[in-house]
Each structure stands twice: as C-alpha cells, then as structure tokens.
Symmetry: C2
C-alpha cells in the first residue's frame, strides 16, 4: 500500500473557533500523525446554555494515540491552545510552541494537573523539528498576539505551509513583522499545499497595520477630559502597548484590570516581550490619581458578564468607579453573537454619563487577520499546488476557494471531518470522519449529541412539570396525584391555579383507569404525561416538559 499525506480538520473548518487540525503521513490507516492547535470555542445561551467550554471531539485522535508524534501550537489564542489542558492526557504527545505560547500552554497544563515539562519551547525557522515522517518549522508571522507562527511541514510527499492566523503587517508594534523574504524563501522549491486562514476573506480593503491606529488613540486620550477606560482582548499585547503608549503621551498613568489582563502581561513579562511598555500602577494607587491623568486598561471587550468592563458598567471594580464625563473605548470588534452583551454595557455606561467610543469607524481598531487582498498576496508569494482554506465558516472557506481559483489555484472546501489526501496532483476526499463537539459542563465532558443540553433547552422553552403519584400494595392510587411546576405561570386561562386544574384532570383519569393501566408503570406514566400536557396546553397555551414519578408501595 502506498503512503499518503493527509490533512484532517477536527475543528475550525466550518466555524471560527475550536481549531484542531491533523496532518498524517504513511499507509492508509497507519499514518503517523501530528496535531496543529487544540482550541476551544465559547458557549452561548441559544444553543449551549450552562455549558462552560466547547471543545473539539477528539475521539478519532484518541483512538490513534500511539500514532501521534507531536502537538504543535501556532499561537496562544484560546481558540488554538484552550483545549490543551483538557486533552493532553488523552493524546500524550509532546507539545511544541514558541516561548510566549509555551508559557500560556504550560499554565493550562498546570491548571489541569499535568506535567508542564511536556511543552517543548522551540526556536523559529530555520530551526527544524523532526517529528516522525515530518520536519516542522515555525514561521514567524504577524497576528494580534505575540509570537504567532505559521508552520512549515515537510513530508516525504512535499511541503505544506500552514498559515496559522495571520495578517500582513510590517509594523505590528509588538511581535514579528510580516517577512516577505522568509515566505518567499520557504516557497521557492515548491509548496504542495497552503492551508490558509480565511477569517477576513469577505473584507475587500487591504488590511491596516497595528501602528496606524496609535496617533488617533493618542489624540482621543488627550481630548478626553475625565477618566479613560479602554478595553480590548488581553492577549493583544500589541494593542495593550498601543493603548498604554497613547495614555502615556496623553499624560495618563496606566492601570491594568482583569484576570486575563494580569495573566497575559505576566506571561509577556516572563518572555521578555513587554519591552517599551510603559510602567503600570496598581488599582490601589489608581484610586489616588486624578481622573484626567489615568487610563484603565480592562478585560471584557466582548461584554462578558463577569469581566472588569461589565463590573465597571454596573458600578465599580476594586473601588474604581466611572462617572459623568468619563470615556470608555472599545478598541475591539464585536464577535458576532456577542452584540447583546456589548450593547448592554454601552447602555449602562450611557446611564452613568460615560461617553462610549466604539470601532464604528475603524479608527481605534484593526483586525488581526489578513483581508482579501492580503490573502491573494500570500497565495501569490507561496504559489502552492493546492489551496486548502481553514479558520472559517463554510461561507468563508467557499469564498476563499473562489479567490484562489480566480488566482489560478486549485482549492477544496474541506470542513471538519473531511480527511483530504494531498498526495496526488489534486486534493481529494479520502474519508469522512465522525466529528463534533464536546462540552465541558461543570467538571464533566459530555457529547454535544448526548441530549443533555437539549433537555435543558426544552425546559427553558417549555417549562417543567412534575407529577408524583403513590400506588398502594393493591395497585390502587393512594391519595391524589401531586403536581409541581417550575418556570410556568401559576394561574391559567380558567383563572384557577394551574396545578389544581391539572391535579383535578389527573384524578379524574385515575378514577376511570382500569386495573391493567394502574398496574403498568409505563402506560400509567404515558397517560398521566399526556393529560398533564393537554391540560397545560388548554390552560396556558404551552406544553411543558413533564416528569412523572410513580412510587409503588410494597
């Protein structure tokens, strides 16, 4: 059997978030594997109420644990590294990362009680990591977090370039600038496949540099009369620096607030990335600084309920309070789905008299992902034999293939679970793998299709009704059935308590019920449930979720 080079996305292809990609080389079914990124995505009330974290389903990988040579993390964003602590034990392979990413990965492993020395800190290209049939090298590339990297993945069947998340930024403030020479160099001898970030394929304008927004932010901070609060992703160290330098230029001391802000700047300090970052003051000291000389740099740009932004909007955080005349800057984009939370904070701030400035005009924020013309530029530099879009919803992947086609490239829309054979001249689908999502629910991992969350959603939509009934030793009801409700109106259309009306209907049924029904738990439960739902429908226009508990004596 001939060896083959495969690509398999388990997360991140067909969605934005939860990145987990697999490459393999070897005989079909016996490939030696490497994993690129192990990220998470975040739950929402619409589809995943009560869930704590959403992870890719790695059952396929777990079943092939012995074939895994290594795990390569491209950068320290949660959607790329967030699952490493939860999954490392199941995969058991060494984890490779550049220093800052490794620092974050180690913290995540430690949190879950795993040995942090499984993380191998690597130098970037031209340093090469030999890993089974692969040779891998980290290619520095600009993004919105320090030390992001694409991967050069050499196999006996040729070279793959995995872009990682990237933008083309020659002046990124912190981190590696776009290095066209490097990408030309690694592409010179021919690239089999470019596996490429698709996030901003619908953004037609060329991307803007991180350095371009500093002056406008400085001006804004100078113009502001009261306290200035700025929020962005804590991991965007470059933006933190842009904001902090602007504050300094505007005569403002900088105070960092929020757990993620502390964790990220600690890691950046550990790894020596914070050079040129203005010194910051503690929240206690900030209380003594005049408002017009202070900037708070806070977490919660996505409206997260417990973050510093939300707490400030609700009153105070560590004794710091906003008031009329202060300014709050969202130096960030709202991720689709988070609008309600962000708008809630904006209105709370408005009620306090705080001026809110958001990214409406693009003056105070630039994206960390390559826009359409910059994607075309990378295609042009790399000139791959095939283009495999990743890091996008279906519509992004499809549009990215179209963009590649327009530039003369062959491409394929490969979504989670589609194993692609890269060995031929064209990418072909080798297999379809069952994939999905795993929920971290409290401390337990559950499958997205287990029905547990579905049951919770049903209770949220329909309310819940409990019927208890005791049957005596002679298979006769002992007393009347008892009804309790949760999340349902107490009074229905007949103006009587809903539970009374349902109990009455259930009692009448029991009076009529024959011995056979009373002796049969399943039948009895089914009938009681049907009656309860029918009566509820009549009384309140809703059919609740019903739990029937029949207790038999003796």
């Amino acid at each position: 059997m001939t060896d083959r080079l495969i690509y398999l996305p388990l997360g991140g292809a067909g969605e934005i978030g939860m990145n987990a990609y697999v490459y393999g080389y070897g005989a079909a079914g016996k490939e030696r594997l490497i994993v690129v990124d192990l990220g998470v995505t975040f739950p929402d009330m619409d589809g995943t109420p009560g869930v704590d974290l959403i992870l890719p389903d790695i059952a396929w990988l777990e079943a092939r644990k012995a074939q895994i040579e290594g795990i390569f993390i491209t950068h320290a964003h949660e959607d790329h590294v967030g699952a490493i602590g939860h999954y490392w034990e199941r995969l058991g392979a060494p984890v490779y990362a550049r220093p800052f990413t490794a620092n974050i990965a180690r913290r995540k492993l430690e949190e879950q009680g795993h040995p942090e020395n499984v993380v191998k800190v690597v130098d970037p290209y031209p340093h090469m990591i030999s890993c089974g049939p692969f040779t891998v090298s980290y290619l520095p590339i600009s993004h919105s977090i320090p030390e992001s990297a694409g991967l050069l993945i050499d196999s006996p069947d040729g070279r793959v370039l995995h872009s990682g998340d990237f933008k083309i930024d020659e002046t990124p403030v912190v981190g590696d600038p776009w290095d066209q020479d490097l990408w030309e160099e690694v592409s010179r001898d021919g690239v089999k496949a470019l596996v490429c970030d698709s996030t901003n394929v619908f953004s037609d304008a060329p991307g803007r540099s991180e350095a371009s927004i500093g002056p406008a932010i400085t001006e804004m901070m100078k113009d502001a009369s009261g306290l200035v609060v700025a929020t962005t992703f804590a991991s965007n160290i470059a933006r933190l620096k842009t904001l902090a330098l602007a504050a300094k230029d505007a005569g403002r001391s900088v105070c960092l607030l929020g757990r993620a802000m502390r964790r990220m700047t600690e890691a950046a300090t550990d790894e020596g990335i914070l050079q040129g970052f203005p010194s910051t003051i503690s929240p206690e000291d900030a209380l003594n600084v005049p408002r017009e000389n202070l900037m708070l740099l806070v977490t919660g740009s996505q409206g997260e309920r417990r973050a510093a932004s939300a707490q400030l909007a609700q009153g105070s955080y560590l004794g710091l309070k906003l008031k009329d005349g202060d300014t709050f800057l969202f130096s960030s984009k709202v991720i689709p789905g988070n609008e309600r939370g962000v708008i809630r904070i904006m209105n709370q701030l408005s009620e306090m008299g705080v001026d809110v400035i958001d990214d409406a005009g693009g003056k105070y924020h630039v994206s960390g992902h390559a826009n359409r013309p910059d994607l075309a530029r990378l295609h042009e530099v790399v000139k791959p034999q095939m283009l495999i879009p990743m890091h996008g919803e279906h519509r992004h992947l499809r549009e990215h293939v179209k963009l590649g086609n327009a530039g003369g490239l062959t491409g394929i829309v490969a979504v989670n679970g589609m194993m692609i054979n890269l060995s031929g001249n064209q990418p072909t689908v080798a297999e379809y793998i069952d994939t999905g999502r795993t929920y971290l629910d409290g401390s337990v991992k559950i499958g997205a299709m287990d029905g547990i969350v579905r049951d919770r959603i049903r209770m949220a939509l329909n309310g819940q009704l409990i019927v208890t009934l005791i049957i005596d030793e002679n298979d006769e009801p002992l007393g009347d059935p008892w009804v309790e409700i949760n999340g349902l109106p107490e009074i229905g259309n007949s103006n009587a308590p809903l539970v009374d009306v349902i109990e009455e209907d259930l009692s009448q049924f029991l009076n009529r019920a024959n011995d056979k029904t009373l002796a049969d738990d399943d039948k009895l439960e089914k009938e009681l449930k049907t009656i309860a739902r029918r009566t509820a429908q009549r009384e309140i226009g809703k059919k609740p979720e019903v739990t029937v508990i029949v207790s038999r004596l003796g």
Copy 2:
C-alpha cells in the same frame, strides 16, 4: 391646581422596540390621555426563552382607562402596532390610523376577537382629530413602510410634534416623500416639543434614498446566472417594489413566499398602494419557470427559524429548492442580536453552493431611519422649544440630546417610566412610574419580574434534579429517596451514575436524621436539597435546580 401637559414613555425609550407613548393634559393625576403606538418586541433565548412576545407593561394606563381619549398608531410596524390586539380591551379607546396601518390594526384586533370597527381611518394633515383636550393630525413622513406618519398634537399648552419613525427621503419609491414645506408649515407658529426618532443618531453620513439602490439591484439580478432569492422585511413595500421591478427589468418573474409577505401585500393591495408593482406568480407556477427567469421574494431576513428563508436554506419550501449557482440577497440589515440566526442561514446556503450577497457595502439596502445629519435637519426645520428623543436605547437618547444641544436646543433623556412635564420652559421630570415588560407566554400574560422565566433560565443553565421521598404514618422514611435528573450528565466524576451517588448520600442523611427533622417538611426539604446540590457539585461540578417532594402517608 394648574393644568399640565405631560409626556410619558411606557416603551420604546431606553430600548429599540415595544413603542408606547402617552401624552396627557389636565390637572395632575386627572390628565386626559392619548396613547401613541402600542408595539411589541421580540424574545430571545438569552433573556426570555420560551416567551412568545414581549409587550409593554400598561398597568398605569389600565388604572386610568376612563381618562384615555384615543390610541393613535403612527405606522404598521410590529414595534408600533403589534400589541393592539392584546391590549385594546384593557384600554377600550378608539384607535386612529391611516388606511394601510388601519388595515393591519384591524387584522390584529380581529385575531384576538375584538370588534374591528374600533379602528377609525383618518386622512392626513390638514385633517384634524379632536380628542379630549388634544387636536391631533397625521403628518405624512417617509419611512420603510407605507403611510407612516408623524403626529401633530395640539394642546392648550402648545404644539407637540411626534416624529414617528422617519427618514428624510424625497424619492421613497412607495409612500409619502419627505415634505419639507409641510413640516415648516406646522412648525411656523412655534413648537413646544419635538419628540423624535433616535435610531440612527450614531450614523454620521446623510441618509440615502430608497430610489438610490434600484440600479445596483437590477444589475445584480441581470448578472446572476441561476435563481435569485431576495429577502427583506415584508412590511417594506417600497423595497419589495424595488426588488420586484429590478427582477422584471432583469427578465425574471416574481414569486412571493412567506406568510408575512402575503399578509402585507394583501393589505397593500386592499389599500391601493401596490400600483406599479409587477404582477407576481404563484409558488406552483414558479416551479415551471426557468431558474434564470425567476426571483423569489421571501420572508426571514432576520434568520427567523420558521420563515421561508430558513426553510429554503434547509432544503425546500413549497417544492422550491435552491442549488449550486443560485444567488441569495439579504436586502436588509441584521438587527443586533439576530446575527447568529442569519449567519446560520448564510452557511447553509453556502453548503448548497448558493452565493450569498449581504448588505456589507450598503449597495443593496438603505435604512428607514434618519441619520444624524437628517435629525439635525429636522431639528432645524421644527426649531422646537424642547427636544425629547425617543425610539432608542439609552445611548441613542443621550447622544440625540447632545446633538440637539449642539444645535442650541434644550433636551432631556426621558426613558420608560419618566413622566415629563412639558408645560414650563424646560422639560422637567414630573413623576417616576413603575413600568416594565409583560410577556405573552403561550396564551398567558406574565410579568417580566414574576420569576417564571428566571426559573426557566436557571433550569437551562444548571439542569434540574427531583428528589421524592415517602414518609410513613410514624414519620419514618418509607423506602429510600428517589432521584431523577433532567439536563444533567448521567455519570459523574466517580464514574458511577449520578442519581445513585446522590440517592446514597440522601439515604445516609435520612438514617442519621432525628425525629424532629423527619417531622418537619421545610427542614427536611432544605436538608435534602442542600445534600443533593453538594453531591452534584462534587460529582459533576454543577449545582442543579432541585425540587424536593415529600409525600406523607396518613
């Protein structure tokens, strides 16, 4: 006691949606009242799971039913007329509206079994309606639905202009163009207060006319090779006409799909508004038209799960199916909070190979609300003594006051429940009224603060656990406690069934419990609940909602 002129928003001020405004004139507490608009807003999974419709709380009005002289509906959008059927009986006053709006209002009254003849069809200005101490006239104004109107409200204390929802559009395709002369005329003798739409106060560019987008849409429809589907709000008759004319110009027959689409075009036909609208074909006939000669005009621009858009994206609707090479146009803006639903449809369409075109560039959609410069223009035309922003979240109202201030106007941020006295030279807060939201939940109206929906949200977040226990005649447990779970993992951290572990812990407690505890229902329930939650926390890292049912024999 002197008479006073009051303004009281019960909905729509501090939110976008659920408009309900009250004006009154008379001695304090004895004012004769008119109501302007009675709208609804829509529930979402985040805060109102399972709710069918959200209505303003009109308890204050209901308690003053005898003081209400009339209900004036400015236009037929759901956020202005949607509650009329649900509330008319409680208010009992005549309803005034222009013909198209009246048509829609009558349908809503009829649906709820109310006499439709309570709706009085009115002519616009200079026709005057005498209503208690008020004289009211409908001022035609352009918006995204036919026959929108502002209101001229004359009182003994002066004239109020209530803008209604509006934009400044001189070529609105359907409906009344902006009539500067009219608004100058009614403002000539002095306006006490301008109560004004604030929706687009953050949009800095001047608004664009509905007529401006026709050519681009025609071009797009000509360029499209397969079937074209377009979606927008069904009530936007002008947009439907723009889209249908573009289709006709591109050689495409037009087929309308979706219940709201039928209802709105029926009402428009009834009222003679559809002149110049191309003839349409039925869904049955559409099946026989070549794809390149067909356009479907469908409901569901906000990603609503049961609308025609969603059904087409999931496979088919009335036998019509989309396929590779078709085009789907969102001629609409996504209302914040609806992003997830719209994106889901976009990706489903992408999976079918359908090209999705959205409003990203503003080429195929214009807003129905006045942008900032147009608001300033209305201020300038009306030159009111005071500006009262409405139809906006807090941030919109506040920004709108600032805009007014910049133009030399006095303004006040008046949110729901703030009764404003307009009689003096400055607007002042007269009273704070308890307001809120009423939920239509199935067929029952419940209060937003009743805790019913809160309980449903808790079950969705935490899952639900039921403990049943039978206590015998001697106050001794009869058998073991029984546990059932809903929406919780079956197996916890100790790898045993969760219900078994909890039942064991409960049994141990009962074995230890003294007679006093066993005889006291409240104490027993509290203890059982605490233990169940503690064990669940240990086993699954979650504290579920717990219902304890103790049945006592004898």
